[in-house]
Every structure is written in C-alpha cells, then in structure tokens.
C-alpha cells in the first residue's frame, strides 16, 4: 500500500496544519512515538546516559562559533528576531541540532578527568527550514529525535562509544522493530558539518529510496577546540576532550515502521511499539466477562476494549486489522461460558485459549511475520547500477575511494542516476574485487549506491 494511504488509514498524522512543512502527529502515531522513545531511552540509560534539558533556542553568537558547522546550517535555521513588541538585539535561532547550545556548557562543566566521560541525551524537537519537497515524518521542518552528546578523555574511548551507539541502534531497530538496515561509514563528502567521521544507518523504503534513520558522529577535538572543552588528566596535563554525538530520528523510524511492514490490508506493527498489543472485541452481552479478561491481561500487556456503539464486531475486526494491532481478542457467549478467549492474530491465525494463558506466543508470532530483507544486488558495471535502482534496490559495487579523491567519480553517479553513494559497511569488512565501476581505477572500497530521501 502506498505511504500516504497508510498514514491516512492509521490515522497517524494530519498534514493540514496551516504552516508548510509542519504537521500534527495524531494520538495513534504519538502513542507509537512514546513507545519508541521508551525503547531507545532504556537502552541509552543502560549504557549510562543521563537525560538533560537544553533550551530550544540558540543565541546567534553560539551558532557562529564553529565555522563549518554554521555554514552547514545557516541556510536552514529559523530566526527569532522579535519578542513581544521589541526587536531583539541578540537574535536567536531555533535549534537545528544542539551542539552549539550544549558545548559552551560542557566547557564550564568539564574540568578534570574525574568529570569524564560525560554521556547525556536530549529527547526533543529540532527545526530545520527544509526547502526540498517535504514528506510527512520523512522530511519536515520540525522533527522529533533523540540526540546524545558524549565527551571522553581520548579517541579510543570515543570510538568505543560509536560502536555502542550502533549496538543500541541494532538492539532496538533490528531486534525490537524488525527493520532491516545497513550501517555505513559515510564518504568524506557526506559528513556532518564539523565532524571527523559520520556513521549512519539506512533502511530501504518500499518505493526504492533509502532513508537515513540514525547517525553517530566522531567529532574528534574539532568542537572541543572551538568551545574550549578541556580537562586536566591524571598526570596534570591539560587536554581536549574527544566527542561523539548520536542522533536517532524518531519521526523517520515511525515512517519506516509504517511503510515497510504494511501489507495490502493496512498497517502491521511490532508488538514492542504497538499502541495496543491486543484489542478486545466483545460480541453480544458479555460486558462483565470482558472486564474480567481486561483485568487479567492489563498488567502485562497494552490492552484496549473496543466498546464503541453502533459498529458491528466484523467492522471492528477489520478496523483494528488496518491499524496493525498484533492480536484481536474476540469474546462472545461461548468464551464467557467456557472461561476462554479467542485469539486472532494480524496474520490470520485463530486459536481459542484459556483465560489467563500468556499472549507472548502470539505477539512473537506477529513479530516474526514482520521479518524481511532489503533488496541488495551486486553491480559489476555502471549499467548494472541503473538496472538495480530501476527496480527499487540498493546496488553494491566496487568503487575507487570514499575519501576526497573519489568525489569526482561520485559526482558522475549523482548526475547520471540522481543517486548517492551511501558509504562502506562497518559491520562487515568487505574487500573490493576488480575495478571501480565509474573510473576503471583499482577499487579501494565496496560501496552501496541508492536513491535517497
């Protein structure tokens, strides 16, 4: 089913908010988002990150401090120039990301090796003035995310964190959300403004475009030097911290979940984030037994009773199928008389079980049905790349270099296919064979080529 129909069917967003690129996220979407935040925050906290709140506005002077970073964001920030009836002397921007808000404070907080590591996360909103065509949850002018900002005594600790970030992403996105993805080191020309290296997680949407859903950046000492974040080590030497930051695109993960797992009926949701893991549909006069069933399961599962008037059980059944609820629990006279419930999974499996029996098995079944693999094909020539992109796949190909010297060959791909080189795998050491498909030079990397959002 196409993306816009799914958003409509799931009652996920309303795009009629009267400001271009800004949308309302409706309750069913917001309940999923709250569950997504919970999953990621739990993992981050297990990895000893603590929550923190920073203002949504950044003084212009702060934003300007890191030159490359400012250049990267200057064209896409919203400016606050007036307050009440006064013109502001010192203007603010709405944060497009929080480095320049946070790091001046880190320079006040970090003094000694005893203060390290610092590992904080922000769950919140950022704003970017996107001028490309917007798409609900995928590209907008306001989006919900988590950003971590970590500081370490040296490069080694910082690089260890990058791996932990990717592990957290894997634990949630693959294991709990059942989304397939690739982990890349981005080419040099595709780094975050101000970063030494950028690592990213891409998933492939059914329309054949990849979507970046998370990134983690190794910032080295770049920002530490600009914002003067120094510490005294055990030997009394003053050193700059090494920093990492990790962005988790909550909106985009919601978009991917909805779009990728859907079938011809409607949404299908992993049980980890489904607003309701099971919906009770009563048939006939069984109110008392329905409440009993609810009370048996409500402590362990997210349960909803659909007791709407004037809608047939059949229509309720169909309604919750479209909304992607993992389990429907049908309760009629037979169930009441026998102290049982009838389970009906989203994939069509029906079973009558005793009241009180665990629902875990059925939720696992639901999640297992969601497993899938992205379409990735080997390209041996530039023509192959064209064919693979044509059928909505990702092309894997030998390429000269993801460092600066490879950029000119990337430009050819960009022009020919309006596609991107997403980078080299980092979860797997892939050795290139033969020549670069663009330049004919000896290939140094195996890269993945795809159209992107």
């Amino acid at each position: 089913m196409d993306y816009d129909s799914l958003l409509e069917l799931g009652d996920i967003v309303d795009i009629r908010y009267p400001a271009k690129g800004f949308i309302v996220i409706k309750p069913y979407g917001m309940m999923i988002i709250k569950n997504l935040y919970k999953l990621f925050e739990e993992q981050l906290e297990k990895d000893r990150h603590l929550p923190i709140h920073f203002p949504a506005i950044i003084p212009e002077n702060n934003l300007r401090l890191e030159g490359e970073h400012f250049k990267g964001f200057e064209g896409e920030v919203f400016w606050i120039t007036k307050a009440g009836l006064n013109e502001l002397q010192d203007k603010y921007v709405l944060r497009p990301t929080s480095e320049t808000a946070i790091y001046p404070m880190y320079s006040l907080w970090i003094k000694s090796w005893r203060d390290l590591p610092v590992k904080y996360y922000l769950s919140g909103t950022v704003w970017r003035y996107e001028t490309k065509a917007t798409r609900p949850l995928i590209r907008g002018r306001e989006f919900l995310w988590i950003e971590t900002h970590d500081a370490f005594p040296d490069q080694e600790h910082a690089r260890t964190q990058i791996n932990k970030d990717l592990e957290i992403a894997n634990n949630v996105i693959k294991d709990r959300l059942k989304l397939d993805f690739l982990m890349f080191r981005r080419p040099d020309w595709d780094r975050f403004a101000g970063a030494v290296e950028t690592y990213a997680i891409d998933t492939l949407l059914p329309d054949g475009k990849v979507l970046q859903i998370a990134t983690t950046h190794y910032l080295g000492e770049n920002f530490a030097k600009v914002f003067n974040i120094k510490y005294v080590d055990r030997d009394e030497n003053e050193k700059y911290v090494h920093q990492t930051c990790f962005g988790i695109g909550i909106n985009r993960i919601l978009a991917a979940l909805i779009y990728i797992h859907a079938d011809e009926i409607g949404l299908r949701l992993p049980s980890s984030i489904a607003p309701y893991q099971a919906v009770i549909i009563p048939i006939g006069d069984v109110d008392e037994y329905v409440n009993k069933v609810y009370n048996v399961y409500a402590n362990k599962y997210r349960i909803h009773i659909d007791n709407r008037d004037g809608i047939t059980p059949g229509n309720k059944f169909y309604y919750w199928d479209k909304k992607g609820v993992p389990i429907k629990i049908i309760i009629g006279k037979i169930e009441k008389d026998n102290n049982t419930i009838e389970i009906s999974t989203r994939s069509g499996k029906k079973e009558r079980i005793d009241l009180g029996e665990s629902l875990d098995k059925y939720l696992e079944l639901n999640d297992k049905d969601l497993d899938y693999k992205m379409k990735i094909y080997d390209a041996k020539s530039i023509e192959d790349v064209g064919k693979i992109l044509e059928i909505g796949g990702i092309a894997r190909a030998p390429f000269y270099s993801i460092y600066k010297e490879g950029e000119e060959y990337y430009r050819e791909i960009k022009e020919k296919f309006k596609a991107e080189i997403r980078g080299v795998r980092i979860d797997k050491d892939e050795k290139p064979e033969g020549q670069c498909i663009v330049s004919g030079r000896k290939a140094e990397h195996v890269v993945y080529i795809a159209k992107q959002y």
Copy 2:
C-alpha cells in the same frame, strides 16, 4: 535552606546558558521531571486522555483569531520572522500555549456527537517573553508543562471534566508528591485570556509567596465560536462544543518540591519521583555482594550504586543526603557475611534487614516525613492581612465579591500589600461572616490573600 542554594546543592539547573531567562535542566533535575511527567500522564491516560503532538510554532493569523486571547499574549510571544536567508511572508510565533494551534484542527476533526468527547494532552515546551525578573524553574522564558485540550457536547460534561482535572492534580500533587495546596476559583479579573472561568492550584513557598502550579479553564463556547468547532447532535441539531483545558506546570512543581520539602541538610524527595529511591554505598571490598543486592532490588526500585573512586563512604553518605535520596543502603563486610543490608533513611533511621526484604516500608516512612501544612490564618481586618503576609502566610478573609464589582476593592489590597486575591476555595463551601475587610460591605465570599510569584 534558601532556594538558590538548594538548586546548587541538588545540581538541578544551570542558569549560565547565554540567553536571558533560558536555563539548562541538569540530569538530576531532568530525572525528576521525567518521573513527574510519568505520574501525570498515567493519571491522564486512566482518565482516557490520549497523547498528541502539535507544532511548536503558530502562524500569526491563527494567534490573532481570538481577540481577547491575542491581546493577552501579544506582549509575550517570540516572533519567527526569518528562515534561512529569507524573510518570512507569514510570520510565526513560538507557542505561549496551544489553543490557537489546536482548535483550528479540532474544527476539522469534530463533526458529529460520535466524535465527542475529544480528550488529548500535549507534553512539551512553551515559550513566553517574560519581562518580570526571572527565577529558575519558577518564572522563565521557556517552560515544560502538560496541557490538555478537551471538547464536550455540553456544559455539564465540561464541568465534570474540571472536577476530574482537579482530582488528578490532587492524586499526584498531594498523595504522591506530598505538597500541600489550595484549589481556587480565580476572581473574574484574574481569568485566563479567553476563558469563562479559571480554576487554579496554588502552593505556598517557604519565602511566603504562593506559586500557581496548575490551572484548569472552562472555556465555554468562546473558542468554539471563534474557531468554528461544531458538531451535529443525535437530533441532527448543529451545536458548538464546550471546552476545557488543563495546564500542569512541571517546572514549577519541581521548584515547589525542592524548596518546600528541603531541610537544613539539603533536598528531601518523595519516593514517587526521586531519581534514585535507594543508593548503595559499598564499604571495602564487597563488589560481588553489591551486585547481588542491586540485582535483587533493581526490578522493583530505582537503585544506584555509588562506586566512585577516591570518595569516602562518609562523604558519599553526606552527598546523597544532600541530594534527598530516600534510602541509603550501606554494605560492608558484616552485611556480606550475613546476607543482610543496612538501611539508613533520609530522616536518620537505621536498620539492618535481610537481603530481599521489601524497601516499601522505608520509602513510605520517607514520604510520611514530608507531610506538612501551609500557613493559613484568618484575617478579621485589613491590618490582620498585613501581619499575616509579613510572616509569610496566606490570609483568609471575608470579601465583597470575586466578580467584576469587587475588582475596585481588590485594587486597594494590591496597592497596599502588592498581594493578590487568589480566589474562593472550590473543594469546600466557605460561607463568609460579617463585612468585607476592604469595603465594609456585606461579604459575599471568603477569599485567600497572598503574595504571589
């Protein structure tokens, strides 16, 4: 202890963020805030509110629609006039509250009696350009809150909701947070801009000023008429909805918690929101047993192990006392050898218990110690009011009227004492005796007079 010292001691905020009136909330403060959100959201969801997300920006045209509302907020909104390198044709404001963002969408969503009630809540940030002196968490230009926006078919249902709102506030603020407060109907001259009636919850801070921590407004059909929110009832008649909205000041509740419950040592936190309900302090080489203790309790309680190097157990003990942790668990060789733990409560009670024994009793003890009553005294004359305010209390007094016709007498109090008439109690029917303390007229109301933040 004074408020600023407590914020410092608890490491709750940092006020050095380089934009006036904007502060950073540090992890210990943010962990409390996350727990506060959870408590309130659970109650709201039990009362069938659903979460929703609305943009942080409101188009100028929307804000202007309700005239009285716009007049009320015009002087205190931040204006976004530029995006990237472009001047915006249609300007935005940062939401100071969300009525004018939400209600245009309600007019699209609500069509029939079947769509009612609508009960949604937003957990998020709002911004107001405060020109009065700011105070961290109490009065700032950015604050965290929850706002509900409910629509009902008639006045009766709307008024029932007002009572539910107040019940939710009572359940959390009194029962879980152990804060004493008064519930008022505000005088006519102190209504929310655009509301028919405003109800509010005030607590008294140790410096003798009351702090408004929550409000619920009966909006009647005022906004429905402006934003055209109509429905067709069961008899096919078109009617306006009746609306209520409920604001819960999360920042201010944090401020009240910290300030009110503190003693000469430092913070004291209710167990419902303490970032850590218990902190384990190891003495000597007991790592393995400490982990065992942690694993026994971590599923049920929020536990932290203080295994910092180079800090004595005594200093750790003192450190966590200042931070207001309800229970310290001391673990040394004796405890290890006997499979016990030593409990030490914030109030000084010590007990050795078997590993695995419930901590509930000690948390309850902690919370019980926090109970207190605000200072409220009867005033029989205007002089009495002065004396009561002098000693940091709230004065209860007979007053002519909280309706418009009483405003001139309120002005006298305002000028004389820089104090406010907070309103009449709504949880209690108080009959006035004798004359109004200002006008000498027959008193129609018993009002409460206090200095306010």
